[in-house]
Amino acid sequence: MKVEHVSNSFFLCDPSFTFIEVVYHSALQGAAPSNHYVRRKHVDFRLPPFLEEQTKATAAMAKLIWFCLKCILLCSTIEAVFEDQVGKFDWRQQYIGKVRFSHFDTHVQSSKKVLLATENNVFASINTRTGELFWRHVDMTGPEGNIDALLQHGQDAVLVVGDGRQLRSWDINIGGLNWEIVLDSGSFQSACLVGYQDTVKHVAVLKKTVISLHYLSNGHQKWIENLPESETVDFQAVYSGGNGEVYVLGVVPHSHIAIVAYSLDDGEIIKQISVEAPWLSNIQASCVVIGQGMLTCVDSAAVSLYTLDLHVQSQMTQIPLQSLGLEATPGFQPVLVSTQPNPARPPLSEFFLQLGPEHHLLLQLNSGQIVTLRDFKPAMLVSFATPGEKTVAAVMSPKNKTACSLNLFSAESGRRLLDTTLIFNLDPNGGKPEKLYVQAFLKKDDSVGYRAMVQTEDHTLTFIQQPGRVMWTREEALSDVVTMEMVDLPLTGTQAELEGEFGKKADGLLSMLLKRLSSQLILLQAWIAHLWKLFYDARKPRSLVKNDVTIENLSRDEFNLQKMMVMVTASGKLFGIDSKTGTILWRHYLDNIPSNAAFKLMVQRTTAHFPHPPQCTLLIKDKDTGLATLHVFNPIFGKKSHVTPPALLQPMLQSLMLPIMDQEYAKVLLLVDDQYKVSAFPSTKNVLQQLQEMASSIFFYLVDSNQGKLSGYRLRTDLSTELIWEIVMPTEVQRIVSVKGKRPNEHVHSQGRVMGDRSVLYKYLNPNLLAVVTESTDLHPERSFIGILLIDGVTGRIIHEAVQRKTRGPVHVVHSENWVVYEYWSTKSRRNEFSVIELYEGMELYNSTVFSSLDRPHAPQVLQQSYIFPSSISTMEATLTEKGITSRHLLIGLPSGGILSLPKMFLDPRRPEIMSEQSREENLIPYAPELLIRSEWFINYNQTVSRVRGIYTAPSGLESTCLVVAYGLDIYQTRVYPSKQFDVLKDDYDYMLISSVLFALFFATMISKRLAEVKLLNRAWR
């Protein structure tokens, strides 16, 4: 945080639009068609038939003129997109998140569907040919919408949602809901389909204390039974082998297994046995049922398998792995994988045993004996699939460093099937394979073909076909974007060359001349190449000329509307996305990211300093330990920079970008550790010297919300810090929930507002101002409150302190220019409210040339007004433009998926309650307590953006245009024009008309000049 200078520039009329206009013209639009009707009728009635042709032409002409007139009127005011503009400046990408359950639709041959249920509480169906969504259902966030189980039968998919709260059945063809029922409370354990005599009609849901059976057709409950001894026994699994019995398996840890068999018909307990198993603690983790009801468990301590026939035995049989000639990897918990292709029949007697991270075994239970069918080593992932009658096993094993091979084996015999090798190339910038889903099918000649979906650690889904063709990939990491930045694209090679020429150091006259010549030669070459390309392309038919965006042909466009979006996701994967098309241009997976990491992305060097590559730094901090690492990379290509970041050994408290640069134009990043020592990156001699010179004007603040402490520090010349101010909020009364400063790249063009009487009200533009929001710890609706403090970040002076009583959070804050807008929940009136605070210096500026926090003795005037907002909101951000001339809008992400662009002029504490002549002069809107949501303010029209978590705004090269990216489960990019496109000619601008008029005038002048000359000559002769 630095005391910055604010230039004393003036621009006192904001080009803001008047909202009344829009209403007026849309009314006109509605009235228009009847006009045509009347006119044409009239003509038909009056004219003789032989003149009809001409009449039509004239009528058409009149219509055209009418239409033109209307167009001119309408185009100038309407803000919404036209139908043909849909998708022209915006795009949306829909994601689902990390996959938890997946089922291929097998009930129809040649089906193209795969059902996916994800950790983000999304249930979706994806086209296996293209990777596009057929349909998607987004449930509530958090545990209420958590998908516990996904079962598929025929064209029904049964989901257990919200810790067993709801049971839903979906039609997988169209994604429609068949039925939904609410289950009794109780924590969910397990669910399975129950079949009898080859038909599956029921689903069993096991909870902590009860088991219930429901019809698949309508969800009605067939029976519900309490589990015996549920206080002591931990029931965990439910199993049905298709013989009319439902088995519930429970365990008393380190004591015994309890097995209860229920009758399918009426829920009567047929049998109840308990078996000694002192080594067992969790059935789901270590046991499976194979063959004809044989419970098989694995115990890592005794290195043995245990089997138990559910129907007869009352004792477990121990089979030491050693007797099978096997050895387990020490420290690895062995895992069993079985398969039950048809719920109406018992599971297969073949199963997988995983003994090490890369060691799998295909075993078979053959008349009580366990036989090894095949030993797979190394094998990372295995999976069963059943095309038709026979089941196959797919095994993925590493081939070399960059590729894996997949093979199919017959599950019955363990023999390898011919021609089933598939090569899966590992992305060097991706993670390791984590899960394997196989879609096997029978070809015409009865041989088995298959496709595989591989999920890697970076949440990428890759769908591959033999012999290794990637059909599609989905970057599901993008469903959880944490932070992002937009970086200008580099100049084209030629532009860069020119720039570079001026950037280089001058060594002498001759060398400079040579440089100039060489760069001009390069320019000439590029121009010729461009001409050649134009000529070449012109010969080709239009459809063939494609302009695919690749990393090679990336360059900045004329108005800097196309940028590189650098997105950081929670999984630790970084993406570079072209903002114009949404194409992913690069990706980079950072492994060993802690699960609770906090990310901060900073642009250290932009593309403006040509010979030096642009540079971004990502600070990754473990929230628990505070230890941080830095990842330095080139934001255009995604490559890791060769600049080595400093190793950070101490836990980090704060990082801040300074406006000072080193010799290579990289901004200096200051890192403050928990000893309050500061280190700089880059830390060259030049930087350290600059820091020493400026140390006394470098201030920063730290927030400790646990202790409610805000403290300010100043840098010393030896890079140590000193505490200079301290504010302490009592934590027993309120806690700090957010601290918002202003964006460093924000420009404010006008320093004041012109009042109705032509005087100027100056804004209080303190670049160091912080908006601190607190929430009361007392949550009683009568006593709860939120507090807003405006604090100067340099001096620690509390500029303004306000409490909003009988309210509570979550509070969303936007802090910009001289205003703070926040949104909260009013517990008194039970509604969402917006409040705006504006700060003014008064009618004269204290010091109009420089702003210094250290020299502003007078407190600003504070104006505040509140409004009712008819919806809750998810996130909020303000538009940002290059020079700050354009009026501001607030972009509000609503839970409904809309992104609302609300003009800031509606949130203006100077809106008068009673209109006076002066306020009318000022264009103020009279105060109305309610803010309306107009449907034309939705910038994403019908493109719903699910679960918006953040909105990022970036200025473009055009003053009127602001680039917007909304991210959440989906990503949506668009442009907004808060004051309309006042600096852009329209698409349908009539160049022809203007130029022809110009030419005509030019010729007319020439001719008249000639005529005048002739006339003068003639007069002279007279």
Binding site: I798, S829, P909
Partner: protein
């Protein structure tokens, strides 16, 4: 020489000033007719008052040494400490004692001694190297009944540039900010004037006595949406409309007698045009044939 500045504190800073104003200077009923607060006007008025008041304090503070201890000080006192060191390592020493009066309307006053010669020299020295002048007060809770509960661990600190302190001749404005429940959460200090222009302060006497303006700032109640007023206004408007139904008429209802002939005229003339044009076109065509 010691001096006390007393302020009684209400909820809003403007009111503080107003009260102060009316108490000390002119017994004019200024703090009335504010039943309907117009925030902007208040702000303007308060700024004016602020300027007036500060001036007033300046001119008077030197002379009002005599009437020291007020009887109402049933409150408690905490030390106000300051520190100014050339080495920029804070060494806090007692500057004065803050007398805090707890209760619903907390007030504060300050007893402070003047600067010693040694301190004056040091302050000038610190100002010369652009050092800081810091103050701190212990964290206190104004609403508690017992003394032990009032004081808490830790301090609240603030600073100004030492040169500003010197150049303003020790004229500082100190505010204690309290939160809703009465905890002091922050302290702030500014000098008047606030700038460091590098003017030499020759006269040592100027640096002897602190000229302190002191206040307690309580949080302002942020306004909620003004529905009642709006509804009232709407009702008034509808009443007005109800009274003279002439104005209630729509644009069309009012001016139909002008519009209808105009439209009729346009239609007629348009038809004439077209039939005429058509006929002419037809004639031209016919002529061509």
């Amino acid at each position: 020489m010691s001096r006390i500045l007393k302020t009684s504190i209400l909820k809003n800073p403007p009111e503080v000033l107003k009260l102060w104003f009316s108490l000390r200077c002119l017994p004019v009923p200024l703090s009335v007719n504010m039943a309907r607060p117009l925030p902007f006007k208040i702000a303007v008025v308060s700024t004016v008052l602020f300027v007036v008041c500060t001036d007033f304090v300046f001119c008077n503070s030197g002379r009002r040494v005599g009437d020291v201890m007020d009887t109402e000080f049933s409150g408690f006192s905490v030390p106000l400490e300051h520190s100014f060191e050339v080495a920029d390592v804070a060494k806090f020493r007692v500057r004065g004692a803050l007398m805090l009066k707890a209760g619903r309307e907390p007030s504060v006053s300050l007893t402070q001694s003047q600067l010693s010669e040694e301190d004056r020299a040091k302050l000038k020295e610190v100002a010369a190297v652009d050092g800081l002048y810091r103050i701190r007060v212990p964290r206190v809770f104004l609403q508690a009944d017992r003394q032990t509960e009032r004081q808490m661990e830790g301090y609240l600190t603030a600073f100004v540039r030492a040169c500003a302190m010197v150049e303003s001749h020790l004229s500082d404005v100190i505010s204690l900010h309290i939160d809703v429940s009465g905890y002091v959460i922050g302290v702030s200090i500014v000098t008047l004037p606030g700038a460091c222009r590098g003017t030499e302060v020759e006269d040592e006497v100027d640096l002897e006595v602190f000229n302190t303006t002191l206040s307690v700032m309580a949080p302002v109640n942020a306004p909620g949406p003004e529905t009642a007023l709006f509804v009232e206004r709407m009702e008034q408007e509808s009443e007005k409309k109800g009274k003279n139904p002439q104005e209630q008429k729509s644009f069309f209802a009012k001016y139909w007698m002008y519009i209808v002939p105009l439209v009729l005229f346009l239609m007629m003339s348009g038809a004439q045009d077209q039939s005429g044009g058509g006929a002419a076109g037809g004639a031209a065509n016919g002529g061509g044939r």
